[in-house]
């Protein structure tokens, strides 16, 4: 009798069982083979045949070593000291992993066998998850990721806020900066002013957004140059630091910039450092200069231009800082800024990203809803699948698979779907984020901090699994509860699963209704913004910002500007050209106080405030503003800078008690000015804001020489040309550029824009918000429609037999369709009703973003309800039509088989 132990052991050589267990198994199986061998011999077989018969026992698929459990229990060893050596009471991770792996394999196979379902579910999930993870990467990058600067949570920004507008953020003077820097709560302070820097390299001029900064600015923020160093606090020669991108554009290699000499403000500056792009502060700055200390006289003018950044001690809250600032303000704000002026402060982070936070939060709400709709949809698909596979599960149950196993199997499939959806979603998110960053439609700060990184991947995976759990739990529980008898039940619509499907469809519809209402409100509001009449013809007005090329001699510069205006005036295609200190759609920075002659100010009355803008005589023609009273000042008045002004209608109504005020005088800039005309209102700043009281002063000299404290100094005001085209606007623009180039001297046109284009780009944020929400809402509605369609189609397919009987009994197709539609109507009505309630509750969150429309606008709600009902009705009608196309006899035969 051969010993089979070696053969068996060889067969099991690939198993990873512990030796003690293996030895027992080898012994047991070898004994079995020996018995087979012995019985064969007894039955008359030859030794060789007996041996072959015995070895046949080892043939199986899968091979023995794979079929064995990883850790068989061996509780009943006859040798008690060997007991428990393996696997008793220790839940084995490996074993769980193995059976999980089996579930995964089974799940994958299942998905492969149902390609239509799998593709539909995956696409739905990828969209929902991708949108969410793209948004998360924005939120994380912009709002959550710490700022790049040293201990940035201790940094605060300080401005002046005007008494009538506490949220306004005005600049500070040098004196104020000194005073604030000396406060005890502030351990370090620096100031900067944003300015345009004209960089001349090898006779080529580059205009950069930049900042001139106080000494200690780099130290305060902990700025580390990527190449070279930060600006010295008291350099021997003028220095400049460039952002990496700019250095690369100008010199190829950023490091090559170090030590190069460039001309700024007509003085040579040495490039001493290159800053990594993400470190730029203020955001989007490309160059930094040291701000020279002001002379005592310059200080005495009290010109406010500084933004102050302070570092507070760790743990100091903003409230303490505010209280201190209030004390300072109460003690000694310069009278020039009016009583009640206060200082405002906010954390640096808040300052940089505060404005985009609410928009991002709304986006998050929107994509969250889309994902929920996607979940409901997939849950519905899964429930149907689960119903279709009841037979399969019943067989498994009756053959010994435990409930837990079936629940787990079902969950593993859902998680698998969620995980795969997440993987696809990451791809979508990546593409979406790249596009978003490239287009930058919201002009968001900190764009460079946005990337698909580990945090985003973890978020996406977690979201995928959570999603899987969310939509998988209902079908899984159902799989566990089913009895074997369920395999028989093939009844109609009233079963629990059908109701669950309807419930999900109602939820989907209501969420999609909420999204649609949000989107409709935002779109409606945007359309209203786009249709605002600013009071002038934005489609015909071009604005040209003049670059004076350094102030140089005031006379020469002013003459060049006048020359340019002369050359343009009267050209064919140009109806009017005028100088303006500021051009729409940009408002003057400061409001000024005016006094009106013969209108005494009562105690406690607010002083009249107005924008004051210097403009040329043709300004009103150029904008196409009509005079309600009087007329414009003439070119001679402008030339002579006579003390005459034109006021707008809102100024006249508010301060002159009527549209007529010609002949009255007002006090402005320490002089008396006569009102010669009242002109129609124009929304010169943001078109969404009502026209402000405005005083137009005559003037077209951008530069003036003054003698301050015995020294000659040059000052300049903003300088723009406002041009009204009479023909083709684009052609006129080309003409203007050409003529401007021909004007001798250093004055050039820095940029030329059509006002309508700028108004449009100023509306980018609401446009993007409306567009994005519109896209969310449409995908939500599409998903909901698919959901409704699927529920109805499924219910129809389950009722094939019943519908067949009804048709045989004489029901008309119309009656059948009506019956199916009636079920649908209940679903739709439920969804719309629930959605309306949800939308009413949520719409106030977008109230702040709406222009000229209430968040409870009845018309919008009615329109959306009707639209959604229509979509859902179509989604119900298609399967209902299908129901009557069934041949009743065939239906009966199929069902009774």
């Amino acid at each position: 009798m051969p010993d089979y132990r070696e053969v068996v052991r060889e067969r099991l050589s690939e198993s990873r069982l512990p030796e003690t267990v293996l030895a027992e198994i080898v012994e047991e199986v070898a004994a079995h083979l020996a018995d087979v061998h012995a019985d064969a011999l007894e039955a008359g077989a030859s030794e060789e045949t007996a041996r072959r018969t015995a070895l046949l026992e080892l043939e199986s698929d899968p091979p023995l070593h794979e079929a064995l459990p990883r850790r068989p229990a061996r509780a009943a060893s006859t040798e008690p000291w060997k007991r428990g050596g393996f696997g008793i009471g220790f839940p084995s991770i490996i074993e769980h992993a193995a059976s999980l792996l089996q579930d995964l394999r089974y799940g994958l196979r299942g998905l492969r066998h149902r390609p239509l379902f799998t593709v539909a579910a995956l696409l739905t999930l990828a969209l929902g998850i991708g949108a969410n993870s793209a948004l998360f990467s924005l939120v994380y990058g912009v709002l959550l990721r710490p700022l790049p600067w040293a201990e940035s949570e201790q940094l605060v920004v300080i401005w002046r806020s005007a008494p009538e507008n506490p949220s306004s953020r005005g600049p500070l003077t040098d004196d104020e900066f000194d005073r604030l820097a000396g406060l005890e709560v502030i351990t370090g302070a620096a100031a900067h002013e944003q300015r345009e820097i004209r960089l001349v390299v090898n006779d080529t001029t580059t205009r950069l957004a930049g900042a001139s900064v106080s000494a200690g600015f780099g130290q305060l923020l902990g700025l580390q140059a990527q190449h070279g160093r930060w600006l010295a606090d008291s350099p021997e020669a003028p220095e400049i630091v460039l952002a990496r991108n700019t250095a690369a554009e100008l010199f190829g290699q950023p490091s090559d910039a170090i030590g190069r000499s460039v001309v700024v403000d007509e003085r040579p500056h040495t490039i001493v450092g290159v800053l990594a792009d993400g470190d730029s502060f203020p955001a989007q700055s490309a160059a930094w200069l040291l701000r020279p200390a002001l002379s005592a006289t310059a200080r005495s003018i009290g010109f406010a231009s500084l933004t102050v950044i302070g570092r507070v001690q760790a743990g100091t809250d903003l409230g303490t800082v505010r209280a201190t600032l209030d004390t300072v303000a109460a003690a000694d704000t310069p009278e020039a800024y009016g009583r009640g002026t206060r200082y405002a402060t906010a954390s640096l982070q808040e300052t940089i990203v505060g404005e985009v936070r609410p928009v991002l939060v709304r986006f998050a709400l929107g994509v969250g809803l889309v994902l929920l709709i996607a979940c409901a949809n997939v849950a519905n698909l899964l429930l149907e699948q689960a119903a279709a596979r009841r037979g399969e599960r019943a067989v498994r149950r009756s053959l010994g698979a435990s409930r837990l196993r079936l629940v787990r199997q079902s969950l593993v499939e859902s998680l698998l779907l969620g995980g795969m959806g997440a993987a696809l979603g990451v791809g979508l998110a990546w593409a979406g984020v790249r596009t978003f960053v490239a287009l930058d439609p919201l002009r968001m700060p900190r764009l460079e901090a946005i990337q698909i990184d580990a945090a985003v991947l973890v978020f996406t995976l977690a979201l995928g699994l959570l999603t899987g759990l969310l939509f998988g739990i209902a079908p899984a529980l159902r799989a566990g509860r089913e009895s074997v008898r369920a395999v028989l039940g093939e009844s109609a619509a009233g079963t629990p699963s059908a109701w669950r499907g309807r419930g999900l469809a109602v939820l989907e519809l209501s969420m999609s209704m909420t999204l649609l209402i949000g989107a409709a409100l935002l779109v409606h509001s945007f359309l209203r913004m786009a249709m605002i009449d600013p009071g002038y013809d934005a489609d015909r007005v071009l604005t040209a910002r003049l670059d004076l090329g350094g102030m140089g001699d005031a006379e020469v510069t002013n003459a060049a500007v006048a020359d340019m205006i002369d050359r343009l005036t009267g050209l064919p295609g140009i109806a009017a050209v005028s100088f303006a200190e500021v051009a729409p759609p940009a408002a003057p920075v400061l409001e000024r106080e005016v006094m009106i002659e013969g209108r005494p100010l009562g105690a406690g009355d607010a002083r009249p405030r107005a924008w004051a803008i210097k403009v040329g005589a043709a300004y009103f023609d150029a904008l196409g503003l009509e005079f309600l009273d009087g007329a414009s000042f003439t070119a001679e008045d402008v030339e002579a800078e006579r003390r005459q002004v034109v006021v707008n209608s809102v100024f006249a109504r508010r301060y002159l008690e009527g549209d007529s005020g010609v002949g009255r005088r007002l006090l402005l800039d320490g002089g008396l000015w006569e009102i010669v005309g009242v002109v129609a209102d124009a929304r010169l700043g943001d078109v969404r804001e009502e026209a402000m009281p405005t005083v137009y002063q005559p003037g077209q000299r951008p530069v003036s020489n003054m003698t301050v404290g015995g020294r000659r100094a040059s000052f300049s005001i903003g300088s723009w040309l406002v041009i009204r085209a009479s023909g083709d606007v684009r052609q006129t623009a080309a003409q203007v550029s050409e003529i401007a180039r021909a004007v001798p001297g250093s004055v050039t046109v820095a940029r030329l824009d059509l006002v309508a284009d700028q108004v449009w780009s100023n509306l980018a944020a609401p446009r993007v918000l409306a567009g994005t929400f519109g896209a969310f809402a449409l995908s939500g509605a599409l998903l909901a429609a698919i959901g409704v369609y699927a529920v109805t189609a499924y219910s129809v397919s389950r009722r094939t037999y019943e519908l067949g009987v009804r048709m045989v009994m004489g029901a008309t197709p119309r009656g059948i369709v009506r019956g199916v539609m009636l079920d649908g109507v209940v679903t739709i009505a439920g969804g719309v009703a629930l959605g309306t309630v949800a939308a009413l509750a949520l719409s106030r969150y977008i109230g702040n973003f709406l222009y000229d429309i209430e968040s409870t606008d009845v018309l919008t709600y009615a329109f959306v309800a009707a639209l959604l009902a229509l979509i859902a009705a179509v989604a119900t009608y298609v399967p209902a039509r299908h129901a009557v196309s069934i041949d009743p006899i065939e239906a009966l035969r199929r069902s009774s088989r």
Binding site: E24, I25, E27, E28, V29, A31, H32, L33, A34, D35, V36, D39, L56, E57, L58, E59, S60, P63, L64, A67, L68, P69, R71, P72, A73, R74, A75, A76, S77, T78, G87, Y106, R109, G110, H113, E392, A394, V395, R396, R397, S398, L399, G400, A401, V484, R485, V487, L488
Partner: protein, 111 residues
């Protein structure tokens, strides 16, 4: 799909449990009895029998003990645990139910 392997595995389990319900048996004894009782229609190979036995044992449904056999060979005898008895009852019920269901669906009485 794994319907068939479930079937085999599931039927193997109930077959083994039913036999052990009558008397404790060693592996070869089980295999021999199955062949005898079904006139060879069902047959267990060692390679498929032992994995099932070990799995059942691990679930605490059966319990194996080494006992001295002929000559120097030990044999491992398996018997039903109380949990095994309960499991068997449940499975018998389910099979009856299933067969009933199958019968109604396929038109084969007592399929």
């Amino acid at each position: 799909m794994s319907g068939m392997s479930d079937l085999k595995k599931g039927s193997a389990e109930i077959v083994i449990l039913s036999l052990l319900d009558e008397a404790p048996l060693h592996g070869y004894g089980i295999a021999k009895l199955v062949t005898e009782r079904t006139d060879g229609a069902l047959k267990f190979h060692a390679a498929s029998l032992y994995p099932v036995l070990y799995r059942l044992e691990k679930r605490g449904v059966i319990r194996g003990e080494w006992e001295a056999g002929k000559g120097d060979r030990r044999r491992r005898h398996y018997r039903l645990t109380p949990k095994g008895k309960r499991t068997l009852e449940t499975q018998r019920g389910q099979v009856a139910e299933f067969i009933d269901a199958l019968g109604r669906l396929t038109g084969v009485p007592d399929a």
